[in-house]
């Protein structure tokens, strides 16, 4: 059973959520997104109880990188390739988004078939670029899989793999916290926890995730912040997520990070993603009920970005 929560500050609702999962066993928490503070679990224990066990993926990764220089070099090369690819991709994405905005500015009468066709093509191009972004991330992963995979056979790493798999399998509930979304996703994949989570999900095991943790459960992870200090920007794809949640893009802290009062920006993001864009605020609690997601908290804690630029409170999806 999947439960998706909003950011836990200032008022955490993870304790109320976890109360629903009684029984024996550990509450296994993946806090790799907290990076150096991964094992600072005092607040987690205070809120989630004494059964909390942190799976220290970030710490393990640091150990592995220190002990296996060949792996470190292979990993670094892959990171460099991704960074370069993102820079180049941005050069293509920015003008493509400008084209859509310019066409909107030129007039968006729904009855004008000429404009409609051009707009549709421009938006399709943006979506295509987003698809390519995900494909190219995977292509680079594949190109470096050999070098990295060969090193993963080392005993140090394989022991960690097995420990992680068993911990995920045995836990009463697995909790994935927020933090640095790329680091979180990366460490989960590195130690094969992605596969363990998929198995757990397929078997109906309980998984609770919030903020960055919620983002990585989906098929596509979108990075977003409309007003960074160096001026307005546009959302970008990080790449594919774990795919446990289909047809949703999760946007934690949407009110803080997105200009939800700017209908054009909202519409552009919603149309571009072509799937449900859900903003999650503190207090949100989305639970999967059959094929439907239900917001078990106050409706205003979660919002849906509509393709016409409206922002609607979410009761169910």
């Amino acid at each position: 059973m999947l439960q998706v929560l909003g950011p836990q500050r200032p008022t955490p609702n993870a304790p109320a959520c976890l109360e629903e999962f009684g029984g024996e066993g550990t509450v296994l928490v993946l806090t790799a997104g907290w990076r150096h503070e991964e094992t600072d679990d005092e607040a987690l224990r205070r809120h989630l109880g004494p059964d909390v066990v942190v799976l220290p993926l970030y710490t393990w990764f640091e150990v592995v990188m220190k002990e296996l220089p060949e792996l470190r070099a292979a990993y670094r090369a892959r990171q460099d390739a991704w960074i370069r690819m993102r820079q180049l991709h941005r050069l293509r994405l920015t003008p493509a988004l400008d084209v859509v905005r310019n066409l909107w500015a030129a007039g968006t009468s729904g009855d004008d078939p000429v404009m409609k066709r051009e707009l549709s093509a421009a938006m399709a191009h943006v979506r295509d670029l987003d698809r390519q972004m995900c494909d190219h991330v995977e292509a680079i992963r594949a190109e470096h899989a050999g070098a990295i995979g060969a090193q993963k056979g080392h005993k140090v790493v394989s022991n960690m793999f097995e420990k992680a798999r068993k911990a995920v399998e045995d836990a009463r509930v697995v909790v994935i916290t927020g933090g640095h979304v790329a680091v979180l996703l990366n460490r989960i994949r590195f130690f094969g926890v992605d596969e363990a989570l998929r198995t757990r999900h397929a078997n109906g095991g309980n998984i609770v995730a919030w903020s960055a943790g919620a983002m990585i459960l989906t098929e596509r992870v979108v990075l977003f912040y409309d007003d960074p200090p160096d001026g307005p920007s546009h959302p970008e794809l990080l790449g594919r997520g774990l795919g446990l949640v289909e047809d949703i893009v999760m946007l934690p802290h949407a009110r803080q990070r997105l200009r939800l009062d700017d209908a054009d920006r909202v519409a552009l993001l919603a149309q571009r993603m072509g799937t449900a864009c859900i903003g999650l605020e503190n207090g949100a609690w989305l639970a999967r009920d059959g094929q439907e997601w239900v917001n078990r908290a106050e409706p205003q804690t979660a919002v849906r970005l509509e393709t016409d630029g409206r922002v609607e409170c979410l009761r169910c999806l």
Partner: protein, 388 residues
């Protein structure tokens, strides 16, 4: 009929003229009903209630382009004085009043305005126009985990004395990690008047700025030491930096080493980068006193002689700078023209530069308010990646 900020003053005068016997009562009620200066979109009305012997009141400010000593107008035959001044909507102006009583003149802070700005010389009153907003990140923010500071002393051969440096370490500081380093001139003043520890705590906690170490150093005779004096680059590069490397985990990456300062602190930062190329990869220069001459004398004090010589040399060969540069300056400063002209000069030399102007003067609050622009430009955090 006056409108906006002048309307209440006009109404008050009319009321006093109608009921002269209630002058004191009406003046007291007026002062109780308003905050001063009274501001509308583009006008601030300054106010002073004098004594019977007050013969003149002047507004003293440092807004380049406006007369720096402006006389107040007496309100009818009363002891009250006022002065409307046109100011931009987002302006922030520091000022004092000069009160003349017979032969005596004295400078005072505005007695009906509690808003003050501290600086090394004391404090000034502040007029903040409606468009000015104090940035949230200048005050402690909930959830911002505090860094800490470590202080050490260094015996300087260059200066022949002992100098104290305070080093800010971010909350996440781990001795086995390496961190970018920014050396800050006038460190004591940046800590005191810009609340720089709070600013760093907040911006790092927001992930807007990367976790960095900041070394706060202060001069003993800063107007000389920071005025393009070769001793300062020698102190920074040959004495302070090696000790910082020895005591703290400073990055090996030169591009992550920075130096910053305001006014003459900006001059010595640029001077250091120019005379010691290849050491610092980032410059944060606030209201730098980059005075130059095309012909003739600079017309400022003799402290500027070496500064002008340096800036003239620098302008002939800016490409010796090998750093990313952030520049800021207030539009109310006489230095705005020199700073504005620096941007295209640096850009033409292929230097990555960002320039920010603000409707403020040559003061510490202006420099504090621009820190987010500068620090995020030079040491951007992973804001895009964090969803907590």
């Amino acid at each position: 009929m006056p409108t906006g900020a002048m309307r209440p003053v006009h109404d008050l005068l009319a009321a006093i003229e109608a009921e002269p016997g209630r002058e004191d009562e009406l003046l007291a009620a007026f002062e109780a009903d308003h905050t001063f200066p009274i501001a509308d979109k583009n006008t601030a009305v300054f106010w002073y209630r004098g004594a019977a012997e007050t013969t003149a009141v002047y507004l003293l400010h440092w807004v380049f382009g406006l007369e720096s000593r402006q006389p107040f107008i007496r309100l009818g035959d009363t002891t009250a004085w006022y002065l409307p001044v046109e100011l931009p909507h987002s302006a922030r102006v520091e000022y004092k009043l000069e009160v003349q009583e017979g032969e005596n003149r004295r400078w005072v802070r505005d007695p009906v305005n509690d808003r003050l700005a501290l600086d090394p010389f004391g404090a000034n009153s502040v007029c903040a126009m409606p468009g000015y907003r104090e940035p949230r990140w200048t005050r402690p923010e909930p959830g911002a985990r505090p860094g800490r500071t470590v202080t050490f002393s260094l015996q300087s051969q260059v200066y022949g004395d002992t100098r104290e440096t305070k080093v800010y370490l971010p909350h996440e500081f781990k001795p086995h990690k390496r961190y970018p380093l920014l050396i800050c001139h006038d460190g004591r003043d940046y800590l005191r008047f810009c609340d720089m520890v709070t600013v760093l705590d907040n911006l790092i906690a927001r992930h807007e700025v990367a976790p960095i170490m900041v070394a706060f150093t202060s001069g003993h005779d800063r107007n000389r030491e920071y005025g393009a004096d070769p001793r300062q680059p020698a102190f920074l590069v040959d004495e302070l930096l090696p000790v910082l490397r020895e005591r703290f985990p400073v990055t090996e990456d030169r591009s992550e080493l920075g130096v910053m300062g305001a006014s003459f602190g900006g001059v010595t930062s640029l001077y250091t980068a120019w005379t010691r190329p290849g050491v610092f990869g980032k410059l944060l220069l606030q209201s730098g006193s980059f005075v130059f001459t095309d012909i003739g004398h600079h017309g400022r004090s003799e402290l500027f002689d070496p500064v002008v010589d340096f800036v003239n040399d620098f302008r002939n060969d800016p490409s010796r700078i090998d750093a990313r540069v952030f520049l800021s300056c207030g539009t109310f400063e006489s230095l705005i023209w020199f700073n504005r002209s620096l941007k295209p000069l640096l850009q033409d030399a292929g230097i990555d530069v960002r320039f920010v102007e603000a409707q403020d003067g040559h003061n510490w609050i202006n420099w504090r308010d621009r820190l987010r622009d500068g620090l995020t430009w030079l040491y951007p955090g992973r804001l895009w990646m964090y969803y907590e």
